[in-house]
Amino acid sequence: MWDYSEKVMDHFLHPRNVGEIPGADAVGEVGNIACGDALKLYLKIDPDGRVADAKFQTFGCASAIASASALTEIIKGMTVEEAGRVTNDDIARHLGGLPKEKMHCSVMGREALEAALANLRGEKPVPAEEGRIVCTCFGVTDAQIARVVRENRLTTPEEVTHYCKAGGGCGGCVPEIQEIIDEVRRKELEKETRPGPAARPMTNIQKIGRIQETIEKEIKPALRLDGGDIELIDVVGNTVQVAFRGACAGCPASGVTVASVVERKLREFVSPEITVEEVQG
């Protein structure tokens, strides 16, 4: 039995925004019944370019239904531009995480959204992924594989299968998937060594998510070694408000040194524009 989060079960048992939108401004359809999951997304865009309504129909397992439901909840009220920046990770995060074997459900959500936005721009109503079919069992292209590898920092063919099914049928394409992983990693390394143009801007949700992740993974462990702790209070624009706990609270050095360490980490992992402010909370 899968270890689904409460949020996944909630969205599965009580899916939000189910159905069609008659006269939708955009429709995105991905997957097919033979592959085991499919998603059709309908969007209504208001005159200011915001997603006024989003509805879906899906064929798939509990996490496919939950991912589609979460997606509609995320994008409602967003501008079309903001919606275009939603990633599969945003969907998984909104659901409190997905079992790793089920990540492809969140990827299907992102693909349906992209298909719908392409449709809105008057482009072909299919995911306009360029490329060559690598996995013939599930019809996955090299471009799709490279993308999930890049966006989710995948390192093994097994992870690629979890994210986009490629390699999960006969397994004949696994060596080729490994080659794609190696190629993506090589390019990433190149990019890291020479400063390229700034990454595309993040949505607020993405930014907050990344700030939380950085605090959890990069900052808390170090502070805890000294008996201290940190809590994220709020994010206002690029200002991150934090409160120190334990040994750090009331430490005369915290205002200057600790806050500056936190700031340096957040600038490194989230955005160079971040400033950190200590508040009492």
Binding site: F12, V18, I33, T58, A64, G168, G169
Partner: protein, 388 residues
Amino acid sequence: MRTVYLDNNATTRIAPEVLEAMLPFLGDSYGNPSSMHSFGGGVRRHIDRARGQVAALIGADAEEIIFTGSGTEGDNTAILSALKADPTRAHVVTTRVEHPAVLALGKQLEREGRRVFWLGVDAEGMLDPDEVRAAVRDCTGVVSVMYANNETGVVFPVEEVAAIAKACGCAFHTDAVQAVGKVPIDMRRSVIDYLALSGHKLHAPKGVGALYIRKGTKFNPLIVGGHQEMGRRGGTENVASIVGLGAACELAARTMEEERTRVKALRDRLERELLSRAPDTRLNGHPARRLPNTANISFEYVEGEAILLRLNELGICASSGSACTSGSLEPSHVLRAMGVPYTAAHGSVRFSLSRYTTDEEIDFAIERVPPIIRELRAISPFGRGPAK
């Protein structure tokens, strides 16, 4: 919340009589049957009695039965024993629809360089004996064909297949884990060499099984060690579970008629009602030549895992051949071998009953399953007719 357990091909409850028979051996009677003292040695006669009970259920002699740790162990022991018996016969014949206990062993034998012939099945999941006739050769060491399929319940013509194998001079093994206790089996009127069964499918505990080995068969043990089981399976006996298996076999002999009448009637009613109340459904497997307790139904346009988890909310336990429930991305190998369209395989649900299943439980399932299918179809983009 109450549990409506319709997943008896996965495992069954331990019969209360079985549990009672076992308890002394989990308590005061903890001796080792191999001991010289009577405190331990006295336990031996309980194992002997259980061996007799298992033998009686399938019309075998007690000495033709060895106890194992599982159905899987029995299958592995039998196939590897047969291959070892005659190294000049290295070829293996089995089916595409075996349980993983045989399927995975066959794949491994292939990787080790053996030739394995995989027999197919027809759209109703039935095996054609003529295909076996065409597949066996002078160099075939073992033919292994399951007695009844765990997913569809289809019962294979194993006696006919066994006769074909024997005529060719090769050993015949059958994985009878799903069949024992549900259909009559009589080894006195059979030419089967090896037959594997499992305790937890017939109301005995998990972790115990038995392997029938026909008298005169050249046997090679899989597990070597002490002299237990007359040197055919090393390891101190799982006394309580063996006693439980014996008790369960004796019970099964008495209740088999009920499986074939009352349980079958419940299964037929469940099947009939679900097929008529939910449109776009189909039965998987031969309609008649099936175990009396198994119903495998495909609900088109919806996915099996979603159905199971919705049923789970109501306490109804069942299984599915959908890709998502297995963690693999491909639906059931059995349904695919039958040529069931992927669309139907993804939406397949197996309901398997037992003699503990009640009328009222079947009423509950008949009442609650169709609305779940309707609700999931309301979410699905498929099955909306030409207007789609």
